[in-house]
Amino acid sequence: MPPENIERDEDPQNDNRHQPSRSLFTVPAPIERLFDRFPLLTYPANDLPLRAPRNRNEHVLYVFITLDGASAGAPSYNPGCLKWQTYLKFCNVNFRVVSSNNHASPSGALPFLLPLSSDTSKTAQAIPSSKLQKWTMSNSTTAVEEPSDLRYEAYLSLLDHRIRRAWLYTLYLSPNFTSIVEPLYILPASVNSIVRLTIAHQLRTAAENELLKFSAVVTPDTLYKEAEEAFAALEILLEHNTWFFGAEKPGLFDASVFAYTHLVMDENLGNGWIDTRLHDAVLQSKNLVSHRNRILTTYFPSA
């Protein structure tokens, strides 16, 4: 309302009633009486939704994991997530794992870490897995530099390519799909069978496309042979050392190896292995088996 109007309305009032004490903002008496009849009641604040974050005094790592596994601190069933979960444990970072899926991630892929922030009004920036190592270096007191061996990158490529490709094949394209991927990735995602079928189809095509990038024809024999060679090479690299490259403490490389060896060796992954070729290949590498058992008993005592 324009200010002139107020003045025009007010002036006649003051003139007529001769009550200069009453201002425009005083509540009129009848309405005041009406409101006095109602008691002022303040309701208690609503509870937070069940899914709201409760304890914000810890870093939270979002990974693929079953709900029971998350509360027990079990290892994740996804190699990419397990690698970082193990690495953070190596570096003595206090964190909690939360079951999640790719749709929840800002980058579209798990894992990511929501760091603890001292200022509750500000939401902390999520840290994707590509920046997790740098973050750990600056946030953990006991984090160790990776060994500067000139063969480090070369052996890492064995894991990231050969073993990963065999893992993709054995998990998504072999009969293990029904016994492992289905109970772990598909059934928890939805109860609708059309959605489940779509997810199954998407996962399989994604794995196929990834494999077809590197060879025009995918033959399981080649993939498994390459993975077996890679495991044998890692076996010789480890020899009788406790950790890879003769390090004092386990590092990211040990975590990356453990992520695959543990899952491949795990008899109870999903509903168990049907195509056991990769499983058998790892069991033959004695050093890798004891390396895995060492990490499992030290860092995942509950599992």
């Binding site: 394209l173 016994s179 289905e182 199954a200 060879s215 090479a233 049907i274």
Partner: protein, 448 residues
Amino acid sequence: MVLELHVWGPAFGLPSIDAECIATIAYFHRIIPYSQWILVADHDAPLTPKYEFPVLIDGIVRVSGFHDIVSYLRNHRSGAYDLDYNLTHQQQTDRTAFISFLQSTASPLVDLSLYISSENYTSTTSSAYTAILPWYTNYTIPPARRDLARARTAHLGLSSLDVNTAGQDGPEVSSPSSGFEAAKRSAGLPSGGRLDMGRGKGIRGLLSSPIYAARFRLDSLTNELLEPLSDLLGKKDYLLQGDKPSSLDCLAFGYLALMFYPPVPQAWLKDAIQARYPRIVRYIWRMREELLGGEDVKASGVWSLSSYRKAAEIEEVLHNLGMCLPWRPCPSRSLLLIAVGVTRKITSNIPLLSRLLHSSRIVYPSPSGTKKGPSALPSPLIVNSFSAISAAIFTTFAAIAIHHRRSPREGDLIFWALRPSTGFGGYGEAGNILSILAGQFPRGATRY
């Protein structure tokens, strides 16, 4: 039995346009006597077991890929053709690791330099292909290989090198000043051209412009490959042993040669090697001398062999041209085979048809030997029958609609049913009763 090696044809003075092919040729040239193998510049990849070159044909056995060929030679022929026989156990493991390292880090770099960068591709790579392929395959093979390279390097986020697709990616840097630029352009004002790119954005804007951002990324990728390789080489002559080349040297040379020798306009890869890794440059020169005899292979020379048939004539031509590799002409294929191959490639580019006609390129083990676990998902039978039924319903409706469209009725559409003309005669005994009842109604009632 003479070993027959089929590879992609020569380019850039190198014996092949593909890194693994160069590596295999170098391996063969080094260890197998000249008379024991022949080399064929081929282009019909679908005839090979894995749709890719190099392919080794030994009698009825066909092996493809550098890694498989080398292990075939190691396990057969009583190990006579094994370059790695005197490596220690540790060195053999290192070789496996570094071969995997080269394949994973060097091949994206070659892809980026020769295929993704559109300037390099149009001016160098595609013309190199024209020299080694028959005319009809030029429409299919180079684009297919470029698409494959795109798929392999998509995760690096360097598509800005590819000018053809860069326009579709939208504005690359969203800074406040880019908003100004857009406003300026829409108002018809001249916005800065190529030369003063980054002016007014400060040094940060300049450095984040796509060319420079890509350049930083490329440099870090190049270092990821060359630093470990340069460290491994050290002061030695070869990567693993001090005195003898191994299969790892062959593969490293294959990739490094394709980074170093092609005369590309955007020579960032060659510049990086020359500027920072003089040791690698000397290594490439030395390897070329030792593994390939330092020869400059010309595609036209290899191509000209196809007019000769007799082995003696070919030997003479090779001698006259000064070629030290045992080239043989590509076996001529019948017109029918060529036609089949061309149709295959055309249909594989048509979206729906390619799915129906081409089987999956994933080889599954025979289903008889494998057991299957119980699945909680609907079985394929149910899914297929469901989709078949819905497809049938859809087709029926579509057919009715088309039929109706093609022969429309005259006038209004009337739905009618047969009504007995004489009361309820059709109902027998009950009809009689009904007709009596009907008689009690006023006449107009049955007429509605």
